[in-house]
């Protein structure tokens, strides 16, 4: 098999993804940019007028910003975790999904910390974290963990991009000049010789193992922000593993949703197949069982032992937040389990539906961890002006939240324009090992 020719074929096949934005893509980008601008306006208002414009008050001092922060950062960690596992264990069908996972990892790790910045009252003093650092504060641990993780994930993502940059550099006829230059620069002289290839594989493998470890550490520290305090709903020994499982739950969910959208809008049915959905669905099933188990253990032990402050918290959850609790912890867990458990329910659409339910349920689960706990402190909230007692997010907070989601999707789309969402080098490697069957050639060839 002529590898150079195959590379050319693959570039030709994927170049529509890189070049021509379709009409719909343009409309989508327009909407996303609009959402981001709306968020920017909200941000300016928040900076000018202060945190008064949010729904956060003296009792509930952290609102949906920190929930989005946990959500996105967990998404990133789980992406790193899954991607590391895929690479490290050389999972057979990893090629079609690995880049989706890697992009999710990096993009959400950029979006997540922006939300924690929105919680901070004095952004102009952010450098004090480095001027007057105090190592015993879990926030300092978190900063170290996130920065390390961000750098590690970037390096890892870049490593996986290099062979594709090289292929694009060598086959860039018809691409604009700046792109050719960019690819030449980013490929850092990678010529796909067997020594280079071996070395790159080795480094990628080492990095994949390292980011699994990094993800676990960073997850744990994030959970500790809550569980190291004395608050009744947070001071839990299982929070760190619980957060890891919860992160994986949302991570797999978002991966399935991304797979579905990319397959549908970029017509990649040849690469992202039902087998990928079923594989991811089965993992989602296992994780949802685990997540349900952790959630049950967490609330059941509080309910059974009913210490007074735990009982007060459960009282808040079961009354004021009844429907949210039902959706987050019953529907959000049981519906995916039912859909994914029975083989006949496992279609691409239903698996995607289960993933959507899982992701929404998990976001709400995070909400129920943060807000009701802050509304039910040890000393009941009294002698406080009424508008300070309960939390409800204002439009400023929602605008910024949606802007964050929009930025996530937009960054994702932009990265997809830089390199094909299906790693070409992975296809080549696969074929090089002689595992390919004629029926599994490119989508174009099949259609011809």
């Amino acid at each position: 098999m002529n590898i150079a020719l195959r590379k050319k074929e693959l570039v030709k096949e994927f170049s529509p993804l890189l070049l021509k934005p379709s009409k719909w893509a343009k409309i989508w980008i327009g909407i996303l940019v609009g959402l981001i601008l709306w968020g920017l306006i909200a941000f300016v208002i928040q900076v000018v007028k202060g945190h008064e414009v949010t729904g956060m008050r003296d009792n509930v001092v952290w609102g949906i910003y920190i929930i989005n922060f946990i959500f996105f950062v967990c998404l990133s960690y789980s992406g790193a975790f899954i991607s590391g596992v895929l690479h490290f264990f050389k999972t057979p069908w990893k090629n079609s999904v690995s880049r989706i996972v890697e992009i999710i990892t990096v993009v959400s790790l950029i979006i997540g910390p922006i939300f924690i910045l929105l919680c901070i009252g004095r952004l102009d003093r952010l450098h004090y974290l480095f001027l007057y650092p105090r190592i015993q504060s879990p926030i300092t641990w978190d900063i170290i963990a996130i920065i390390t993780d961000l750098i590690g994930c970037f390096i890892y993502l870049y490593l996986t991009f290099i062979p594709d940059f090289a292929i694009l550099r060598d086959n860039s006829e018809g691409l604009p000049k700046w792109r050719k230059k960019l690819y030449t620069f980013l490929a850092i002289g990678y010529r796909d010789t067997s020594t280079q290839r071996k070395r790159l594989h080795k480094i990628t493998r080492i990095m994949s193992a390292m980011i699994i470890a990094l993800a676990i550490v960073a997850y744990t520290v994030l959970a500790w922000i809550f569980s190291l305090t004395l608050q009744p709903g947070w001071n839990s020994t299982i929070f760190a593993p619980y957060f890891i499982v919860a992160g994986l739950y949302s991570g797999i969910g978002v991966i399935i949703i991304a797979m579905y959208l990319i397959r549908k809008y970029f017509k990649l049915e040849h690469y992202i197949r039902k087998v990928h959905f079923i594989g991811a669905g089965v993992i989602l099933l296992i994780i949802s069982l685990l997540f349900g188990y952790f959630t049950f253990s967490e609330y059941f032990s509080r309910w059974f032992s009913h210490k007074i402050h735990d009982a007060n918290l459960l009282d808040t959850l079961f009354n004021r937040y009844f429907w949210e609790f039902v959706f987050a912890n019953y529907i959000g867990v049981l519906v995916p389990i039912v859909i994914l458990f029975f083989k006949k329910f496992r279609t691409i659409k239903s698996i995607t539906f289960a993933a959507i339910v899982a992701v929404l349920g998990l976001w709400l689960n995070r909400y129920l961890i943060v807000v009701p706990t802050l509304e039910t402190p040890y000393i009941p909230i009294q002698d406080t002006r009424p508008e300070f007692v309960h939390y409800s997010a204002t439009w400023i907070e929602w605008a910024l939240s949606f802007a964050g989601v929009a930025a996530f999707v937009l960054f994702f789309m932009l990265l997809m324009r830089l390199v094909p969402i299906i790693p070409m080098s992975g296809i080549i490697d696969y074929e090089r090992e002689g595992k390919v069957r004629p029926s599994e050639l490119t989508q174009q060839q099949q259609q011809q």
């Binding site: 202060g50 001027l131 004395l230 402190p377 009294q382 406080t384």
Partner: protein
């Protein structure tokens, strides 16, 4: 009226003031004050000399003028981290005497330039269990010896001093609010927006006064170190008409509510003093005397503005009373 009482119980009050003056103001009159004096050339020497004790135990003579001048001396953020040497401040709140008169809340608000709705000190209505009658429960910052808020602060903006006081430095705080969530007593508040009163720079900012405030930072009860340095009681203690709040020094084993001065250890041991939520292990420096032999019926506490009563509407007892039409 209070002054009359003070003369009646003159010895006690004077004793406290005297002690405060001698070991409070005078100790600090050492290094920082003397340095201050030399820089202020306008100061006229009165000729009278007073002997004071420096933190390291030396007797020095300073001009009498400087002692009077001391209260106005500005305590910088750096100085406020050290605390008043040799002191270990402690508060005892006698729950039997509290009737929600709210003078403590109001005087605190006035002294710290707080708005009507901002309270460093809140009055809770607590019911220990179904059989017990509820009681009024003033809740300042507990200035814990194991303060969770200080542990979690990423920049050292909140700190524990040698004299036991936990303060917030508004110039250092980045407003992450982690301390607010980690405080199990909900003692901390946040400056949610800018207010015109923050622009008032007549008094330079000191963590000891918490004035003026800064937008986007955390605030809380500070035990009024500026008053302590003058040998006076915190505003809440001195303004309470019932003498509910005793304040003093654990090292001296003495606390006073401005009317009577008592031994701290005797007060705690004889009257079953306890600390709220002891099991959390934060080791507060605020003690409570149980609400036994109460001096006022609980209802007297509802003799306040309508909107204040509204703040207790979630308490089952209040709901009960409202149903019966007693409030």
């Amino acid at each position: 009226m209070k002054d009359d009482k003070t003369t009646q119980n003159g010895t006690n009050r004077r004793k406290f003031l005297k002690m405060g003056l001698l070991s409070g103001a005078t100790t600090v009159a050492g290094a920082s004050l003397l340095a201050n004096l030399t820089s202020e050339e306008e100061l006229k020497a009165s000729g009278d000399k007073i002997r004071v004790l420096t933190p390291d135990g030396k007797m020095v003579e300073v001009d009498a003028e400087s002692i009077n001048n001391y209260p106005e001396a500005h305590i910088t953020s750096e100085e406020s981290r050290k605390g008043i040497p040799g002191r270990k401040f402690v508060m005892v709140i006698d729950l039997a005497k509290c009737k929600n008169a709210r003078n403590c809340v109001e005087s605190c608000q006035k002294a710290h330039h707080l708005d009507y709705n901002e309270e460093f000190l809140k009055i809770q209505l607590i019911q220990d269990h179904e059989q017990a009658d509820p009681y009024w429960f003033p809740k300042p910052c507990y200035h814990c010896d194991e303060p969770p808020c200080v542990t979690v602060c990423p920049t050292g903006a909140t700190f524990k001093r040698d004299d036991g006081i936990v303060l917030v430095d508004n110039d250092r705080c980045i407003g992450c609010k982690f301390c607010i969530t980690s405080c199990p007593y909900s003692a901390r508040q946040f400056h949610w927006s800018h207010k015109s009163k923050f622009d008032n720079t007549d008094l330079p900012y000191s963590p000891e006064t918490s004035v003026p405030g800064t937008e986007g930072t955390v605030m809380k009860c500070d035990f009024c170190p500026d008053m302590l340095r003058q040998g006076k009681l915190p505003h809440c203690a001195s303004s309470c008409p019932m003498g509910v709040i005793y304040f003093g020094d654990k090292n001296e084993d003495m606390v006073t509510n401005g009317e009577e001065t008592v031994r701290f250890s005797e007060l705690i041991n004889d009257r079953g003093g306890y600390r709220h939520l002891e099991h959390l292990g934060t080791k507060p420096n605020v003690y409570y005397l149980p609400p036994v032999n109460r001096q006022f019926p609980l209802e007297r506490g509802f003799d306040v503005d309508e909107d204040i009563i509204e703040r207790y509407k979630d308490v089952p007892y209040v709901q009960d009373m409202k149903e019966k039409g007693k409030i």
